[in-house]
Amino acid sequence: MIYFDNSATTKIDPTVLQTYQTVSNDFWGNPSSLHNLGDRALQMLQSARQQVAEIVGCQSDEIYFTSGGTEGDNWVIKGTAIAKREFGRHIIVSSIEHPAVINSARQLEKLGWDVTYLPVTKAGFVTPESVAAAIRPDTVLVSVMAVNNEIGSIQPIEEIAKILEEYPTIHFHVDAVQSVGKSLWSHVLPERVDFATFSAHKFHGPRGVGFIYAKRGRQLETLITGGGQEQNHRSGTENTPAIAAMSKALRLATTDEAQKAAHELALKQKLVDFLSTLPDITIFSPLNANFAPHILCFAIAGVRGETTVHALEAEDIYLSTTSACSSRSGDESSTLKAMQVPEKLATSAVRISLDDANTDAEVDQFIQVFPKVYQRFQHMNRR
């Protein structure tokens, strides 16, 4: 099996799973319990938080554990809107955000907020100028993702941060879900960023756990109220095994991060070099420093993305139509649509998403198998 769908999810690392199990067995107390079992679990929780904070480069009270990327995005968007409703009801998001951001914004729109959806260039980038132009006196939030999940474009977070230096009260949120393990930390988390969302299963951690970075002193309304966990900002008994496992997964993902990213880039290079030789192929994720090393989005003219996915699946190669989250709905990619890619081409797009664990041999095998699929479709197209 060749797994090229790592932006959809990654396989849990065996040692991370081991951590999950050990913590489930040996630290299973409720961290809020006063007795020794609770204290032991609390120490685990705090140490996991400390480790995450050290890797992110912040204080441990700036890390809040969540159930994953979707919750993190929902929390920051809606939590900001509610917390700052007296100061303004205008938010700015890019039009290529993950649905967790877009649909949170849409929900706010229904409730009376104004939302600006920033357009992107044909190549798939938000421009800092468009951010500057969209800012109004009542703007309370700018949310732009670090790495686009469909085509891998790295958004100009540093430049947007520079613009927002002049608007210190606007919350700046970065959905960083796709950026972990790609050696992009300084790029996606400059000082001006107030909030960032992360999800464990994108870096070989377990499902159902993630975290947000929330800068000290920034106001964010609580969405999940209850027993007061996570400094009273996100209630619910802490998922200690998953949190510890995520902390470990994050440590592993950020160890030798640059080498891993370089390895993925070399694989991507090989794939791009190969695909470029085929006339009916359009590549949306070129090889340059503005694109993440692990995502390669391309389309075969006239062949629906779904068809390509299934044809390669028959060869035991797993990739996906642009974003796994929305691929079942059959819509064309929202990122490609925002890039004004013609609908017919957009519905043909598929995404390869690589990981450090992918090998040269796997890429070679893909290169060997792919022409068969490609030629078969060419026959179909001619008829």
């Binding site: 913590v23 630290f27 685990m44 480790q51």
Partner: protein, 405 residues
């Protein structure tokens, strides 16, 4: 800069006449203990200063430890060189170059005890001053309050150069003022009181009252952890845990609510005094601050102090809470102190304690039960442990935790 020696200047003890020898001996012992982790050092205590040869040990690590030892006014890391004029010149230039651009003015200050050296004090001053003037244009000479003073000492064995003077912890060497008991609750004030006691040379032993199940193991661990925080100033500190449950229950049963606190405190003080007597302590230290809480009004102090003639020293008596907190932060006990565990002072705290308890009434209520027997039982259950600065009591599971993260 790679320093080869550290010269330590004594604090107030230089003025202490006849006891001088004892003070120096004690300081030598404390410094030796504080620097025990560095086996290559040689420590030479002398009459007017202490001399430490680093023998290749990293000077920054030694400096960090040394700055915590009481009884040291200041110290200077220095470089020992041969009695060679060229070498003296290059080393002096290197040392001053390091302080540029922060420093703008300099002075050369030479002492010469070896009168056979070819240059005299003034000649050395001139020679080095000229060299600096020629080679480091950023620095200008200034005799009064220069930014940096380069000290040159020409001795029989070698020349010593130093340009930094680091402030020591001050105070007196711990142990020179005798031994006392510190009543350590776990709050913010008592560790600060302990620190200040040590600063004046007092060797302290911690007396901590604990009342399971009304207080938790965690509260006890916290008190021990606080003790570990204070240990670097002396090496090790004895921690005495005194079981207090039975006394508290009896007091609660018999004494009217308004006097609960006063009578409890009288028992605590009596026990601390008895321990001091057993252990050759000369006084009791505590973290009381006048008027801070009901038990710390002057009236309360009268009613509580009534049980003993032993001196009770309250180092933070006249400090504001903010002043106490700033010391607690400096000595890194604050974050521990504010961890929320019940301690023996907060349990059974009556909602309306008497802020002006009556001495006669306090004595009367106490006459209603057999205090001596209660105290005897408590003292029989006393446990003493010796606590080192590296001991860990709160984060006990860290090895397990780090192995899975």
């Amino acid at each position: 800069m790679k320093y080869t020696e550290i010269t330590v200047r004594y604090g107030e003890l230089s003025t202490k006449g006849k006891n001088r020898r004892e003070f120096i001996g004690r300081l030598n012992g404390n410094v030796t203990k504080a620097l025990a982790a560095f086996p290559d050092l040689h420590i030479y205590p002398k009459r007017d200063r202490m001399h430490i040869s680093l023998n290749g040990t990293d000077s920054d690590a030694v400096i960090a430890k040394l700055s915590q030892v009481f009884g040291i006014q200041n110290f200077s890391p220095s470089i020992k060189i041969e009695k060679d004029i060229e070498q003296m010149k290059t080393t002096a230039l290197q040392m001053l170059q390091e302080q540029v651009p922060e420093a703008k003015t300099f002075k050369i200050d030479t002492r010469r005890s070896d009168h056979d050296f070819e240059l005299d004090t003034n000649q050395i001053n001139l020679l080095l001053g000229d060299a600096v003037y020629d080679n480091i244009p950023e620095l200008t000479a200034k005799m009064k309050h220069p930014d940096v003073t380069l000290r040159v000492e020409v001795r029989r064995d070698a020349i010593y150069l130093s340009s930094r003077t680091i402030k020591g912890a001050g105070g007196l060497p711990v142990g020179t003022a005798g031994k006392a008991m510190l009543m350590l609750s776990g709050g913010i004030d008592s560790p600060v009181a302990g620190y200040l006691a040590m600063k004046r040379g007092v060797e302290i032993e911690m007396v901590h009252f604990f009342s399971p199940p009304y207080t938790s193991e965690r509260a006890l661990a916290k008190a021990k952890q606080l003790t570990a925080k204070l240990a670097p100033y002396v090496g090790t500190i004895k921690f005495i845990e005194v079981p207090f449950t039975e006394i508290q229950e009896e007091v609660k049963r018999i004494v009217p609510e308004g006097y609960l606190m006063t009578v409890q405190r009288r028992f605590m003080l009596r026990l601390a005094v008895k321990l001091a007597e057993q252990r050759k302590g000369l006084a009791i230290f505590n973290g009381e601050s006048v008027g801070q809480v009901a038990s710390q009004t002057l009236e309360s102090m009268v009613a509580i102090n009534d049980v003993t003639n032993m001196p009770i020293i309250r180092p933070v008596a006249t400090m504001d809470k903010t002043e106490i907190i700033s010391i607690a932060e400096k000595i890194d006990t604050f974050d521990l102190s504010i961890m929320p565990f019940e301690d023996c002072c907060t349990i059974f705290a009556p909602p309306r304690p008497k802020t002006k308890p009556n001495l006669e009434k306090s004595r009367f209520y106490e006459s209603m039960f057999d205090g001596e027997a209660l105290m005897a039982r408590s003292l029989a259950g006393v446990k003493v442990t010796e606590i080192h600065s590296h001991d860990e009591f709160l984060a006990t599971d860290q090895i397990d935790i780090q192995s899975v993260l």
